[in-house]
Structure formats: structure tokens, C-alpha cells
């Protein structure tokens, strides 16, 4: 066996196309990892800068306020979802959906949909990350490496000579396939594993991604060999495999996406905004009690209190903000449920498309998928609740306005 490895290893090193493919895989893997690391570092730097600015801004702003109402009105805080230790490998939906918010105690539905996203012309082009390299490009590299392994020997009239010389040609072919597959897998994995360990990713996650990459390369290798065996020539096999690749990588995921969008309705975001504005503004035209009653219905702990105020009734003001949120809670939840449902549909569709499956696995582990976004979204909602509830005792006048106490709350909430 060692002799076989030595022999075929020597042989592989002299195959120019194979070596070029494996070098290309190494270069691509390194590029994707470097880009991923640069991206994650930029995100971390942005978060650090925002943390500092937010703290300075909040301290400045609160120092100028004389009542809890104004403090709540002007006191913006930051909520962020820092990139996970594997985000460098799978950027997922992070360049299109928000992962940072400036939040204050006003109605959240007017704030949470703000999206500080990048340049849409670049986002639309897509990124090249490790997940893309593995799920989309690796199959092409496997096809390139393996489609001609047997037919090439036949075309050159060498197959029979190989068979007679080696006694049995199948182990020779098997060793060649195996060595090329292993070389490709190592080329893809090495930069990833090094970067993942440097970022301190969990061993289990690294092992899962590495294992999935390996299994994926093996599966594609088997498919390529299976198809190549059944086709008249290597070129027919390659063309057929390209067709299969197109169906698995593009047609199935994109069709599934289109079906999910068509069959699973989500409310129009604009409806949330229009409705919420109506409720918030109507508060000015209806008696204060009506608003407070609606507020107390969901916050019974305050039902026995009456706001104590001079000048402006801030508690009423924040109550109608909250009532505005409550009024669209149903449609806003329906929106998130719809997105979850669409994602569940895609999860089922992924069983038809291994590339989609791999991408879902990677983005899940890297916490850059829809689930991670929804967890972040919920975390923003929870933080907003904590924030406004911290102000209520001061707004009701049962606690004195205390800047220190407000500053003690998270200035930057980290949701991860």
C-alpha cells in the first residue's frame, strides 16, 4: 500500500493539469480565507469604533438631560451581533441583513427595520467565501480532476497496457482518484483549519465543517467516477456533469427559493410601518386614558400607578409608543414566522441539493444564517424591552431621575 501511495504520489506530482488544479484550489481557499478574515476584522473594528462613539455620545447626551423622558428620547444605545469565530468562512446573510442597530426607547417597529447594509451593487455581485468555494466551486474542481482519469488512458491507448502491467487496473485508478481527492480536500481544508483555530473556533464546529467538506468532495468524486464510467467519452461525461452541477447548484436552490416566496406569504413590510404610524399618531387625538388603558392591558404591573409629571406627560408618550408596537405585534410576528416558514421550506429543499445543504450547514455553524438573524432580531427586541422598562419607574415618578442608573445599563448590547 505504501508503495502504491509512493508510486501514485510521484505520478500525481507530474500531472500538470492535476497539479495546477490543486494549486488553484489552494490559492482560492487562501484568498477566500484572507477575504473572510479581512471582512471579520473590519466588522470587529467597526463594532469597537461604534462602541466608543456610542458610549461617548450617550454620556454626553444624558449629562444634558433633566428628566427621564428626554433621557429616553435622546439616549441611543447600540445593539450588535459580532461576527462569530467562523463567520470568516461563511458570510451568509450578514452583508444583506442588519447586524447592528442604534436603539432608543421609542416604538421599536420604527427602528428595527433600519438596515445599515453595504453597497447594494457589490452585495448583488455576491461574495467569495469558503462556503461558496466548497459548495459551488469544489464540485467543478472535482469534475476537472477526475472526469478524464479513465477515458484519458483509453483514448491514449494505455488502458490495456496499464491493466496488463499492473495485473488489475482498478486499484490503480482507485489510488489515483483517492490521491487527487485527498490532495484537493487538503488544499481546501488547510487554510480553513488554520484560520479557524487562530480564531479559536470550537473543535466540534471545525471538525463538522472539515468532515462535511471531505464528505462532499468524496460524494462528488463518486458521482464523477460513476457518470464517467457510463458515458462514451470524458467530454460527454464532463458536459453531463456540468449539467448536473447547474441543476444542483443553481436550478434547484433558486427554484426552491422562488417557490418558497410564491407559496409562503409574508406581510408587506410597508403595512407594518403604515399601521404603526397610525396608532402612534392617533394617540394625540384620543384621550390619554385610552392610551394608558391599552398600555396597562399588557403592563398590568403599572395599572395602579398614575404618572406624576410637570409640563409634558412623558409616560403617556412612551405608553403610546409601546401601544404602537403592540398594534403591529401580530403582523410583525407574522412576518418573522413567514420568514421562518420559508426557511423551513428551504431546509427541506436542501435535501435535493447537496450544495444548498452544505451552505446551510456552514452558515448555521458560522451563525450567519436566517436562524442567527432571527435570534439577533429577538435579542434586539428583548433589549428594547429591558431599556424602556428601566425608564418606566422614573417616568411614573416613583423613582428619581438617575443618570448613573441609566448609564449602568448596557450602552452596547452584544447579541450573539
Amino acid at each position: 500500500m505504501l508503495r502504491d501511495i509512493a508510486r501514485e504520489g510521484w505520478f500525481l506530482r507530474r500531472e500538470r493539469l492535476a497539479v495546477a488544479t490543486i494549486i488553484a484550489a489552494t490559492v482560492l481557499a487562501t484568498i477566500t480565507i484572507v477575504i473572510g478574515i479581512a471582512d471579520v476584522s473590519a466588522q470587529r473594528a467597526t463594532i469597537a469604533a461604534l462602541d466608543a462613539s456610542t458610549t461617548a455620545d450617550l454620556e454626553n447626551t444624558l449629562a444634558d438631560q433633566y428628566d427621564a423622558g428626554s433621557a429616553a428620547y435622546y439616549g441611543f444605545r447600540l445593539v450588535v451581533d459580532p461576527p462569530s469565530e467562523l463567520a470568516f468562512a461563511a458570510s451568509g446573510i450578514r452583508d444583506e441583513l442588519p447586524w447592528k442597530h442604534r436603539i432608543r426607547s421609542l416604538a421599536l417597529e420604527g427602528q428595527i427595520y433600519e438596515n445599515d447594509a453595504g453597497n447594494p451593487e457589490l452585495t448583488q455581485l455576491g461574495r467569495i467565501d469558503y462556503a461558496f468555494l466548497v459548495s459551488v466551486l469544489a464540485p467543478l474542481l472535482v469534475i476537472l480532476l477526475l472526469h478524464d482519469i479513465v477515458d484519458g488512458e483509453r483514448r491514449q491507448n494505455r488502458y490495456d497496457l496499464l491493466a496488463v502491467t499492473a495485473g488489475d487496473v482498478r486499484p490503480v485508478i482507485r489510488w489515483r482518484v483517492l490521491l487527487r481527492g485527498v490532495a484537493l480536500a487538503v488544499a481546501l481544508l488547510l487554510p480553513f483549519v488554520i484560520a479557524a483555530m487562530w480564531f479559536g473556533a470550537r473543535f466540534a464546529a471545525i471538525a463538522t465543517i472539515a468532515g462535511a467538506t471531505l464528505a462532499y468532495v468524496v460524494a462528488w468524486s463518486l458521482v464523477v467516477m460513476w457518470v464517467a464510467k457510463r458515458m462514451a467519452s470524458a467530454t460527454t461525461a464532463a458536459a453531463t456533469l456540468l449539467g448536473g452541477w447547474t441543476v444542483l447548484v443553481l436550478v434547484i436552490p433558486l427554484t426552491a427559493g422562488a417557490i418558497a416566496e410564491r407559496t409562503i406569504d409574508v406581510p408587506q413590510g410597508g403595512e407594518i410601518l403604515l399601521e404603526q404610524r397610525e396608532i402612534v399618531n392617533r394617540a394625540w387625538d384620543i384621550p390619554e386614558e385610552a392610551t394608558m388603558d391599552a398600555f396597562h392591558a399588557t403592563h398590568p404591573e403599572w395599572a395602579d400607578y398614575k404618572p406624576v409629571y410637570e409640563g409634558f406627560n412623558w409616560m403617556w408618550y412612551y405608553a403610546f409608543q409601546q401601544v404602537g408596537d403592540q398594534s403591529v405585534a401580530e403582523i410583525s410576528t407574522a412576518l418573522r414566522d413567514g420568514v421562518r416558514e420559508r426557511d423551513a421550506f428551504m431546509a427541506r429543499a436542501a435535501w435535493l441539493s447537496p450544495p444548498l445543504l452544505v451552505d446551510r450547514l456552514f452558515t448555521r455553524l458560522a451563525k450567519t444564517d436566517i436562524n442567527a438573524f432571527q435570534r439577533y432580531d429577538q435579542c434586539v427586541r428583548n433589549f428594547h424591552e429591558t431599556l424602556r422598562k428601566a425608564h418606566y419607574p422614573m417616568l411614573y415618578g416613583i423613582e428619581p431621575f438617575d443618570v448613573e442608573k441609566l448609564l449602568a445599563l448596557d450602552k452596547m448590547k452584544v447579541c450573539s
Partner: protein, 483 residues
């Protein structure tokens, strides 16, 4: 000439007898049709939904009862971005950009709810739009069908027979290219029909022509490149291999690398980040709610001087309204300065990325396509500007009504009691300052001019590929002359 046509016809006969070529063509035709139909129907639904919400928003605004004008400034208004008519071919940045923007006094909000917000997560590639299919997938089919156009004849040595019949390399070059060009034209039919169908919806004929022409140029590039590679490669197998590598590089890798590179080389400051600088800058702008703000001392003095009075109560206009109007104008200048800076950063970044057209004809076409359709960054910025104009216009309209329709005395006493509150209202007729908002991309001539760069680069790519193919067929012929 007739020889070339004959070669093209023979090539078609070969394709139609090859199961691989026929199934590739049929598969692609199905994908292209699916992309054209599903995108058209999605854009149509989106357009209708956004139009409906736009008119609902306008009706609600106009239906508001008599009120204090500043309440309406904060009640605000929503504008919706409708996709360009030709977005059915290339939605461009539409899915990644906000569709609705809240307009109110003193603030510029960003557009929210891009389609991606609720889109399912698909791996790798974004969406099955006609633009994507033609830019990425159709070239692959041209390769699978055409990789052996010249190399096959050489392997079977039928090229010698052709030459013996007096068909020179020029005829081979033209004939083989013609075969692939006619296939391109056939595959292009669904896109052309989809685009033509939008003319009644307001798509300009010139834009449709430029769009279809651009896509044809792009497919012509691939047709020539495939002929050239097939002629130059040692064997059909190598021709297929190299064509596929070129395809991966041009259609898949380079665009993404360009995107990442542009993002790294010309970073755009995030909105939250630049908002902190905006907060700083805004400290110097007076608070328009407060006439006593020292920032308005001069304005007040000038007004008193003009009307020869010495207190606000005696002015024939409402000082609070005047202050609100001036403050809004000052503040808007600052807001616009930041918004323009941000858009300039984005434009610079996009421009940098657009130079990727020199690296990949796919990027050349992509730019030209989005620009011709009006679904590029520039037209998104155009929406932002129009939305800002609409915001400024209705806010200032209300502020002017505030200054002229509401007396200063009633205004400052508005919180005294309910009756005083009622006196501090103006007629709902004033809400008519709101203009109907209907976003349209830049005029066709302007869009086509913007697309000129991309189309020009594409033409250069096409010419290079044609020359490469021409050289290739000569080299290929040279091989048996030498043998």
C-alpha cells in the same frame, strides 16, 4: 459567404443529432423561460403592491383632519420605490435596496424592507433572474454545445476535406461563429420578448434595443471565444476544459473578487458610524421647535426690522412657522451634505467595481444592463434624492402654512386647554402640499448614455474574441498545411 452559411447549417445538423447538445439547449431554454416568466410576474406583483401602498399612504395623509401643521410634519409620509419597467429583465440592486422610506421633519430616514429581508436563503447565487441566467448560465450552454465546433472537425480530419473544397479559414471562422451566434439569438428570444412586452408599461424602445443588443454582444463574445478556443486547443477535451475554466473565471470568480476587492479598497463608512459625525454637525443647527434658540436671534431681528415691530405677537406672520422653515432648510443642508458624501462614497466604490469590466465581459454587460434598465446604484440614489425632495417639499409646505395660516398667539397658547388646542389648527386643505410620488428611473437617453462605458468595453471584448477566433481558425488550418 454561402460556404460559411453551409458550415453553420452543417453545425446545426450535428447539434440536432447530438443528444447532449439538444438536451443542453432544451434545459437552458426551460431555465431561461422560467427566469423570464417568474421574474416578470414577481416584479409585476411587487410593482402593484408598492403602487397600492403608495396611494394608500397618500390618501391617508390627505384624509387627516384639521390639525396643528407641525403635527403633520411629524405624522410624516411614506414613499415607495417602484421597480423600473425593464426590471423584469434585470432587477439589479432592487432586491437589496429598501422599498419604502418614511419621510418626516428634521430627519432623513433610510429606505427599509428590501426584498432580501424576507427572502429565503439560497446558497451561492442570488436569484433566478433573466439577467443572471443570461450572464452566467447561457454562456455555459454555448460552451457545452459548441466546444468542439472546430476541434471535432480536426480530430475527424473533415477540416482537410472542407479546405479541399475551397473553404478557407475565413469561411470556417464565419460559419462556425454564425452557428453559435444563431444559437445565441435563439436563446435570447425569451429575453427580447420579455423586454418588448414592457413597452406598453412605459419601457422606452431605445432602452429595449440597447438592452437586447448588449446581451447579444455578450453572447457574441462567448460564441467567438468558444470558436477560438476550439480552434486553438489540441483536442476537443482540452477545448472543453479551457472554455470551462475561462467561464468559471469570467462569470463566477472575477465578479466576486472584484466585489470583495472594491469593498476593501474603497470602503464606505457605515450609516451608524457617519451618524455620529452628523450628530456633531447638527449641534450647530438651531432647534426649529424653539424660537428662543440663539441661532435664530438674527432671523428674529430681521423680521422685527422688516415689519417694524418689537415683539413676535405683533408680527403679521407666525414666527414659530418661519423659524421652523428656516431651521428645516439649515438642517436639511447638513443632512444632504452627509447623505451626498455617503452616496459619493458608494458611487466611488461602485465605479471602482465597474472597472472590473476590463477583467470580465460579464461585468461589462452587468453594468450596462443595470444602467440601461435603471436598476443600478445611480438610479437608487436618484430615488433617494427624489424622496428627499418630496420630504423637503411637504415639510416646508407645512411650515409655510404654519407661518401664514396660524396666528402666533394661538400657536403659543395651544396647550392651555382643549379649546385653545382646537384654535391652533389649520384646515386640512393645507395637506394638499403633498405631491403624488411615482418613482421613475432616469430618462432612457440618460440611462443608455450611462451604459455606454459598459457597452463599449463589451464591444472591445467582442472584437478581441472575434479576432482571437479568426486567428485560431487560421492556426488550426495551418496545422494540416504543416503536417
Amino acid at each position: 459567404m454561402t460556404g460559411a452559411v453551409r458550415i453553420a447549417v452543417e453545425e446545426w445538423r450535428y447539434w440536432l443529432r447530438s443528444r447532449l447538445a439538444v438536451s443542453a439547449m432544451l434545459l437552458m431554454l426551460a431555465v431561461v423561460l422560467a427566469a423570464v416568466i417568474s421574474t416578470a410576474s414577481r416584479i409585476q406583483t411587487e410593482t402593484e403592491a408598492r403602487r397600492a401602498m403608495q396611494s394608500a399612504a397618500e390618501e391617508t395623509f390627505l384624509a387627516q383632519p384639521d390639525r396643528h401643521p407641525h403635527r403633520m410634519v411629524h405624522y410624516g409620509h411614506y414613499v415607495f420605490r417602484t421597480p423600473a419597467p425593464l426590471a423584469v429583465v434585470d432587477p439589479g440592486v432592487d432586491p437589496s435596496t429598501g422599498t419604502v422610506m418614511f419621510l418626516e421633519g428634521h430627519r432623513q430616514n433610510s429606505a427599509t424592507f428590501p426584498a432580501v429581508y424576507t427572502a429565503p436563503q439560497v446558497a451561492g447565487f442570488k436569484g433566478l433572474t433573466p439577467a443572471f441566467t443570461y450572464q452566467v448560465l447561457v454562456p455555459l450552454v454555448l460552451i457545452v454545445v459548441g466546444f468542439s465546433v472546430v476541434s471535432r472537425e480536426r480530430e475527424l480530419q473533415t477540416d482537410i476535406q472542407q479546405a479541399a473544397q475551397g473553404l478557407g479559414p475565413a469561411a470556417v471562422w464565419f460559419g462556425k461563429s454564425l452557428a453559435l451566434l444563431s444559437l445565441s439569438a435563439l436563446l435570447l428570444a425569451p429575453l427580447a420578448i420579455g423586454a418588448l412586452a414592457r413597452i406598453p408599461q412605459g419601457a422606452a424602445v431605445a432602452a429595449v434595443a440597447a438592452l437586447v443588443g448588449g446581451y447579444f454582444l455578450y453572447l457574441a463574445f462567448w460564441s467567438f471565444a468558444i470558436v477560438g478556443l476550439s480552434a486553438r486547443a489540441k483536442s476537443s477535451a482540452i477545448a472543453l476544459l479551457i472554455s470551462c475554466i475561462v467561464w468559471i473565471a469570467m462569470a463566477v470568480l472575477v465578479p466576486r473578487l472584484v466585489s470583495d476587492l472594491a469593498a476593501a479598497l474603497a470602503p464606505v463608512t457605515g450609516k451608524i458610524e457617519s451618524d455620529f459625525a452628523l450628530i456633531e454637525a447638527m449641534r450647530d443647527v438651531g432647534d426649529g421647535h424653539n424660537t428662543a434658540d440663539p441661532a435664530f436671534d438674527q432671523l428674529r431681528a430681521e423680521l422685527f426690522n422688516e415689519y417694524g415691530v418689537d415683539r413676535a405677537e405683533d408680527l403679521p406672520v407666525n414666527l414659530r412657522g418661519i423659524v421652523a422653515e428656516v431651521a428645516e432648510a439649515d438642517l436639511t443642508d447638513v443632512l444632504n451634505e452627509f447623505a451626498d458624501a455617503r452616496m459619493a462614497e458608494e458611487t466611488a466604490q461602485a465605479k471602482l467595481a465597474r472597472n472590473g469590466a476590463w477583467l470580465s465581459p460579464m461585468l461589462a454587460l452587468r453594468n450596462a444592463s443595470m444602467q440601461t434598465v435603471g436598476s443600478d446604484l445611480g438610479n437608487y440614489h436618484r430615488f433617494m434624492h427624489e424622496a428627499e425632495d418630496a420630504r423637503f417639499e411637504f415639510v416646508q409646505g407645512l411650515n409655510r402654512a404654519h407661518g401664514s395660516e396660524l396666528s402666533y398667539i394661538d400657536d403659543i397658547n395651544r396647550n392651555n386647554d382643549e379649546a385653545a388646542g382646537r384654535r391652533a389648527r389649520i384646515s386640512a386643505d393645507n395637506w394638499r402640499v403633498l405631491q403624488t410620488f411615482d418613482f421613475q428611473p432616469a430618462p432612457a437617453a440618460q440611462r443608455i448614455r450611462a451604459a455606454g462605458f459598459g457597452l463599449l468595453v463589451l464591444l472591445i471584448w467582442c472584437a478581441i474574441a472575434a479576432a482571437f477566433a479568426y486567428r485560431g481558425t487560421q492556426v488550426s488550418e495551418g496545422r494540416f498545411h504543416a503536417a
